[in-house]
């Protein structure tokens, strides 16, 4: 049962190691309820589609895993699609060649494959940090993409179906369901998996292991001096984050029942996963998940509205980089930029004109600067 504790003077509740204040508990409850009623919400409006939100949640879940590396060890992985794809392809191969029908077994296969893959790529790429690490993960991701594309056993560019057995679909609880029911049931499965995954991640971020990772992220040499096995800890974090990607990929395969290399292994998917983490706020736990839903939703809406939806995504990322570096959740939190600005506005509405003026001035200055640079390049001097 929940136990009452005290955190910095505000009453808090402790349950299964999760400590929340009353406010946070409300948010948590609302979040869980929303996750569970999404299938009903999507019947209300045509613009909301269950499959889109589902896909967003799955990629967002991979981003939650990536966030463990990004947030604590300050390592930017640009190849997380490798694990997503490994999970998806492991599922597809098991279903097609081994005839595995149970969703649980398929997901276990995805986890096993992603763990092995993350272990191998981790050993090879964690010798480096910074950009080198980003490049290496990207290259390994592309290597897997190339393999999936080149091997006819893996379906080449056509991909593979996940339709095992006489029922032509993976079985939940040993039963075959009609497509509609299957879609909703797999969605609930995803929600349960996500909640478990978030809980595990929360426990990790409350553990000494997280402190060690933070220390490594801040200063590797010092971390080694105080006796932390840096390489091994980072490797473990890498494998954990890979497993999240693998689970997401396995679920993606089970839900879609058809996978292609383009949508699972391509390096742009790695980029997507990374930007979901940033978009949602990589200093927060649930940010990446929200970022995933928002990014996939925007891309889907963008595709309907304009053929230039890549431009739209690009502009959103630009706004994010310059205006809201802490992401959606990070900006909305207390102390975030949105709350601060709203507070200023409420106290003194005239601050709005000052903001406008600053914006105009900055733009003018930047333009002048770039014109100077251009003149220097073209004529050699100013």
């Amino acid at each position: 049962m929940p136990r009452r504790t005290d955190r910095d003077g505000t009453p808090a509740y402790r349950f299964l190691g999760v400590e929340v204040t009353r406010r946070e508990a409300v948010f948590l409850l609302v979040g869980v309820v929303v996750l569970f009623i999404v299938p009903d919400l999507t019947t209300v409006s045509d613009s909301l589609q269950l499959s889109v939100i589902h896909q967003g949640l799955l990629f967002g879940f991979a981003a939650v895993g990536l966030n463990l590396l990004l947030r604590h060890t300050k390592l930017t992985s640009f190849g997380h699609a490798a694990f997503f794809g490994t999970g998806a392809y492991a599922t597809a191969v098991l279903a097609r060649y081994a005839g595995v029908q149970s969703v649980g077994l398929l997901l276990l296969g995805a986890i096993a494959a992603a763990t092995v893959m993350a272990a191998i790529i981790g050993v090879l790429s964690l010798r480096h940090t910074g950009l080198y690490f980003a490049l290496l993960t990207l290259a390994f991701g592309q290597l897997l993409y190339a393999i999936a594309l080149g091997q006819s056993a893996l379906g080449g560019s056509d991909g593979l179906p996940i339709r095992p057995g006489p029922a032509n679909q993976p079985l939940l609880f040993g039963t075959a369901f009609s497509p509609d029911v299957y879609q909703v049931l797999t969605y609930y499965l995803t929600v349960v998996v996500i909640l478990i995954g978030l809980f595990v991640m929360y426990r990790i971020t409350q553990s000494p292991f997280r402190n060690a990772l933070d220390a490594i992220g801040q200063e590797r040499t010092r971390a080694r001096f105080i006796g932390l096995p840096v390489r091994r800890y980072v490797w473990v974090a890498f494998v954990i984050s890979g497993i999240y990607g693998g689970v997401a990929g396995g679920l993606f395969a089970v839900v879609r029942q058809y996978i292609r290399p383009e949508e699972t292994l391509f390096f742009l998917r790695s980029g997507d996963i990374l930007f979901m983490a940033i978009l949602g706020g990589f200093r927060t736990l649930v940010g990446p998940l929200l970022g995933g839903v928002v990014l996939v939703f925007l891309q889907d809406v963008g595709q309907d509205v304009t053929q230039y939806y890549d431009f739209l995504t690009g502009v959103i990322l630009l706004i994010l980089v310059y205006g809201f570096p802490r992401g959606i959740v990070g900006s909305l939190q207390s102390g975030g930029i949105v709350n601060t600005r709203l507070g200023e506005l409420r106290r003194e509405p005239s601050v709005l004109s000052t903001w406008g003026q600053t914006a105009v001035e900055t733009t003018e200055r930047k333009l002048a600067e770039s014109m100077t640079s251009l003149r220097i390049i073209l004529f050699g001097a100013d």
Binding site: G150, G271, Y308, G314
Partner: protein, 314 residues
């Protein structure tokens, strides 16, 4: 599968030709990486913008000069016209690079590296759709240059059937490699850039404006990417997604050669080009995977790449 010596030679030449194109892209990327410390994910888009622009410039120049006339003089005039068109294309990319660096990149040098990746990725997406807006969805091609240059006999003289255009690319590639090394070794600007790469603070102390060097380096990278795009487009077509593959291969080249090493980029580019080209005859499915396999191998044997850090040794 039996491979005749002639076929092996042709594949090697193809590889070298591709290697030179790759070097022009990777050299810009590696210099930007070595000095700005930014991995420019939008570099492939600059390459493809170069290709699209080149089609227009080629069309214009050929309209002015006309098809190659008879005799050596006519041929020479045409070749110079093509080289001029390539240089004009590359020059068009200079202001593009300048604006990208001065407006977007300059704001975020002191931020976390992940934001730089997000920013250049955002630029990649934006440039992708800018291309779609300007040149449309379908691929564009220019056959005039390719077929005209191929009428000049070169390899036929030694009894080999090999397109003259590829020989042309190899020659221009060699010239650009020499030019690039000369620029960094011998010119004052090149020395200033290298000095900034070796020690940014010291360079500032002796009066180098790092802002300008950064802009110059990025513009130079854009110039090289545009040059590569213009050289690469005649035999094929300009497509929207043509930037992706060279970009990723350039990463491989950079890792093989050593981060920020120009010499490493040269060796890496030729290595990747030739091996990739051999794979096409020996084992086609391995074509895409081979460069990454080499990269993994190099990393196991020599994690810092074939050549160390660029700057002091160029």
């Amino acid at each position: 599968m039996a491979v005749t010596p002639t076929a092996a030679l042709v594949q090697t030449l193809n590889g070298i030709q591709f290697g030179f194109i790759l070097f022009m892209i990777a050299s810009g990327l590696t210099v930007i990486l070595g000095i700005l410390d930014v991995l420019n994910l939008a570099h492939g888009e600059l390459f493809s913008i170069g290709a699209y622009t080149a089609i227009g410039v080629f069309g214009f120049i050929i309209g002015v000069v006309g098809p190659p006339g008879g005799g050596i003089v006519g041929t020479a005039v045409f070749l110079f016209a093509v080289i001029a068109a390539v240089l004009i294309t590359a020059a068009i990319l200079l202001p593009v690079g300048t604006v990208l660096e001065a407006v977007f990149l300059r704001q975020i040098y002191d931020r976390d590296q992940v934001y730089q990746l997000v920013l250049t990725f955002a630029l990649l997406l934006i440039l992708l759709d800018v291309k779609k807006f300007i040149w449309g969805d379908s691929s564009l091609r220019t056959d005039a240059v390719y077929s005209a240059i191929n009428t000049i006999p070169t390899s036929e003289l030694v009894g080999l059937n090999y397109p003259t255009y590829n020989v042309f690319v190899i020659l221009v590639g060699m010239a650009s490699v020499v030019g690039l090394f000369w620029f960094f070794e011998r010119t004052k600007t090149g020395r200033i850039i290298r000095a900034t790469a070796i020690d940014r603070e010291m360079a500032t102390a002796i009066g180098v404006s790092t802002d300008r060097v950064f802009t110059l380096v990025f513009a130079l990278g854009a110039f090289l990417a545009g040059f590569a795009g213009a050289m690469a487009v005649p035999p094929t077509a300009a497509t929207l997604e043509m930037g992706t593959n060279p970009l990723v291969l350039s990463f491989v080249v950079i890792v093989i050669g050593g981060l920020g090493s120009l010499r490493g980029a040269f060796v890496g580019a030729l290595l990747v080009g030739v091996i990739r080209s051999w794979m096409i005859t020996l084992y086609p499915p391995g074509e895409i995977a081979a460069p990454f396999a080499i990269m993994a191998l190099i990393l196991l044997v020599k994690p810092e790449g074939l050549f160390g850090t660029w700057g002091e040794t160029a």
